[in-house]
Symmetry: C2
Subunit: 511 residues, 2 copies
């Protein structure tokens, strides 16, 4: 059965290595209807209030070019305070231009991904400053850690793309770091990847490298985007200059931009869900409108990242009831505007333990029930995003696979039902040896990569390995088995030359 084939090794000469049994790469579609947490009236109340916020309070837009674009569209712009007030008609006119779905093109067409509708694409964790594993503990990320996390993630079929650096490689110089990281995405993976919108140059470099990797022209790049960038507004109600520069660079080139206000209840947003949702929505709409002002019809993603803080310590919390409800509401708002919805797979645990898994489970189910199209931080996120955990990446992959498999339809027909088999087995019998079972058992069920279903005695005999310990073994095996996907040597050379040139120039100059 194709849907459950074991991943094949490319190099038959080393066939003795153990190979991880996992689900194949798959376009995931959510067959269930989305669940509405807000009544129609509540939804409109939030929608209208967020437009009122943009009219009456506006956003502080720190980029000169961004303010110019808003002003040209008729917004009330005060350059001294950088405040931009925009009327609801203008905002909604821009929002109406956003495509309801779009495809991101990989250098390997089989790895193209589409966002929108009932599709689900999952990205690896991105941007933690630290990483951790059971062998070497918690530490600031290096380029070696970055490459290892990229390689482990790329070996997992449930990771559809990279929406950022799985860990920040802080041993690389800031001004040229992006060049080495983009190069790794291209050489070590066949996945779509993200540029960082800290100013225009990092995106510009990414666009050039993506074009070289795919061997396409500027026009083709616009027509068939291959990159995404993620913009966080500086909540409340501020868009900083580097972010707006990156946004403009990407949108000018037709590359999708995902907007996510980071609206922690009681910190960067009101302490109420209704207030935080209004603010999230205001910031998202204003920024998505800006994308359309740069290039009408340019692809955009509506992101929600509303959660609460621990009121005792101020620490952010994730996978909480408030987080789940905000995710449900975020999905509903994005559907209202017909824009693909981004959510996340997050938790605030300090260890790869039960808390990490139950908070992640809350986030993941929220994402699926809310019809998230783009699930960010899909695998590896720990400690509220301060850590990329190698073991957590495997735990998350197992959880993602379980969700993907849950979305596969149930086949109902007489052959599947097998009343004859029931007659053969008879009351009190068992189905182990019946033909109906023998014909199907090999591929009948989802086969987990991490879950351990041995009986207790066998498990103790094996050293009582908990899920994190087993995950440790798996990621190391994946790293050992790693093989880079093929890349045309001429393309590699051209990329290397570009990176060398940009490094000679000193890398980024715009911030």
């Amino acid at each position: 059965m194709a849907r459950r084939s074991t991943s094949r090794r490319r190099d038959a000469g080393r066939a003795s290595k153990p190979v991880l049994e996992q689900l194949p790469w798959r376009e995931v579609r959510n067959p269930f209807p989305p669940v509405d947490v807000l009544s129609a009236d509540q939804l409109e109340h939030i929608h209208n209030s967020s437009l009122t916020v943009l009219e009456e309070l506006g956003m502080e837009v720190m980029g000169t070019e961004a303010r110019r674009l808003y002003r040209e569209a008729g917004a009330d712009v005060d350059d001294s305070t950088m405040r931009v007030r925009m009327d609801r008609a203008m905002v909604m006119e821009q929002i109406d231009k956003v495509p309801s779905e779009f495809t991101l093109h990989s250098r390997v067409p089989e790895r193209n991904i589409t966002m929108g509708g009932n599709r689900i694409v999952v990205a690896a964790v991105s941007s933690p400053p630290n990483c951790s594993d059971l062998d070497n503990g918690r530490r600031p990320g290096t380029f070696e850690d970055f490459r290892n996390l990229v390689r482990v993630a790329a070996s997992l079929n449930c990771i559809h793309f990279f929406a950022g650096y799985p860990v920040e490689p802080i041993d690389l110089p800031v001004l040229t770091r992006h060049l080495d990281c983009y190069m790794t995405f291209i050489t070590d993976t066949d996945r779509v990847w993200r540029t960082y919108a800290l100013g225009a140059e990092r995106s510009h470099d990414g666009i050039i490298m993506n074009r070289i990797a795919r061997g396409i022209s500027e026009e083709e790049m616009i027509e068939k985007p291959g990159l995404i960038t993620l913009i966080n507004t500086n909540s409340p109600l501020r868009l900083d200059e580097p972010m707006s520069q990156g946004l403009i660079e990407m949108a000018q080139n037709g590359q999708p931009v995902s907007i996510t206000p980071f609206t922690l209840l009681g910190a960067m947003a009101p302490t109420t869900l209704a207030g935080a949702l209004v603010q999230q929505n205001a910031e998202a709409l204003a920024t998505i409108a800006l994308i359309q002002l740069v290039r009408p019809g340019s692809p955009a993603v509506y992101g929600g990242f509303t959660s609460n803080v621990d009121m005792k310590s101020g620490a952010p919390a994730f996978g909480t009831p408030e987080y789940v409800k905000a995710t449900f509401a975020g999905g509903q708002l994005a559907r209202r505007y017909g824009i693909p919805f981004r959510t996340s797979n997050v938790n605030a645990s300090n260890a790869v333990d039960a808390q990490a898994a139950y908070e992640t489970g809350m986030s993941l189910w929220a994402a699926f029930v809310a019809h998230g199209n783009f699930i960010h931080h899909g695998a590896g996120w720990l400690e509220g995003g301060l850590v990329a955990s190698f073991e957590k990446m495997i735990v998350d992959a197992e959880m993602l696979q379980g969700m993907f498999e849950t979305m596969m339809p149930i086949t109902v027909n007489d052959a599947e039902i097998g009343i004859e088999a029931m007659a053969d087995v008879g009351p009190g019998g068992h189905f182990f040896g019946t033909q109906h079972t023998l014909d199907r058992y090999e591929n009948a069920f989802y086969s987990p990569m991490l879950s351990d279903w041995r009986n207790y005695e066998s498990w103790v005999e094996a050293g009582s390995p908990d899920a994190a310990t087993r995950a440790n073994k798996i990621w190391k095996q994946q790293l050992e088995n790693f093989e880079a996907p093929p890349l045309d040597p001429a393309i590699r050379e051209e990329l290397e030359a570009f990176v060398a040139k940009r490094k000679e120039e000193g890398g980024v100059h715009d911030n």
Copy 2:
């Protein structure tokens, strides 16, 4: 705010003891629409096929009285093979008599529970042969363990009732064990509890003890049931004699009976979801029909417990994609018949680790999405039901509270939204100190009992306690703080006399 009050200690004199901050006892309602996994055609195909199974194959019904009841209703009964074939019209005529909801009455009316509609009630784990905790490890259950688990569960507001012994107290004599256990449920808790339907006598004793505890007559007991029993068919297609005796005893007395076929794919049921669902449905309908033949209109529950086995070892698996889909489908079938739906909160992990939590998360979300009315094994289940874990009980309580809180509505109005607060705070500011926050922050968010949101450094300083380690501390604290709810001394005396008399008689004689 009432909905988030900290539980109060009864004895102000020992006020120095730490008190667990938890959500108050609450009638939980599921505000979201149930999700259908089967198309209308698929649902009818399964429904019709299960009726065909009952007509053509029938059930093996080992109890003489049960067969008599089926025969009187027109079923084709063969006493030599014990096979009972029943036509679809007869089955559905009985199914139509089942009430869509019913209330179970506690000796403390505040602890009454109602099953049906969009209500959710949760029971503690029941019937594992073993228990475990981090201090004393895994061991066969004793009466001391039983009492301790009952007391910890009764201290948790998210546990609505006891649907069985949290662990089997194997140091108590089998024939009188139920008397000591029922006594504990009455004296140490204020919750509704379950009788065991292993023959009629255990249920009969339970009914008498429940009447004494509540100080009510036989007629009142029928009118206001206070007990439930759980029947597992011996899948495939067999109902054993003790179970049918227990069922009849309970139904005669108007006490609800919950029917759950235990249909493991590829073991006691076909290896296909469609086949297992047909068999589950056939067994459930036939047995619920029997309840109605005993006493038309007697309350019943439709249970689903379809999951897969590990095809490598034959070990049962829980919280799997197949389990989730079977739960969705089970809920849909129960809704088709208008009967309350029972599901479970289960996993197959050997440790209180990430696997335990992610498999439990799958089961729990499946229960909520499928609109389970009665969530069995809600807290404490580990190792596929072979172990009741003290630590897992606390992990589950945290997960249950998270789900309950997720079901609370979002309030949307201008005061909650607080546009003025946004204006005061301004772009880039923070909401920590604003009046809008100060007015609300104390009770703004769900406050977890187990989740640890300290920063990494503080957590390491505290000894890096993982979730299981923290749970260990909590259950011990709950046990230490335990105080039995008040019980009229005259009632206690009457109960003690009844138990003494029944022990003198040697306890159970019917099996």
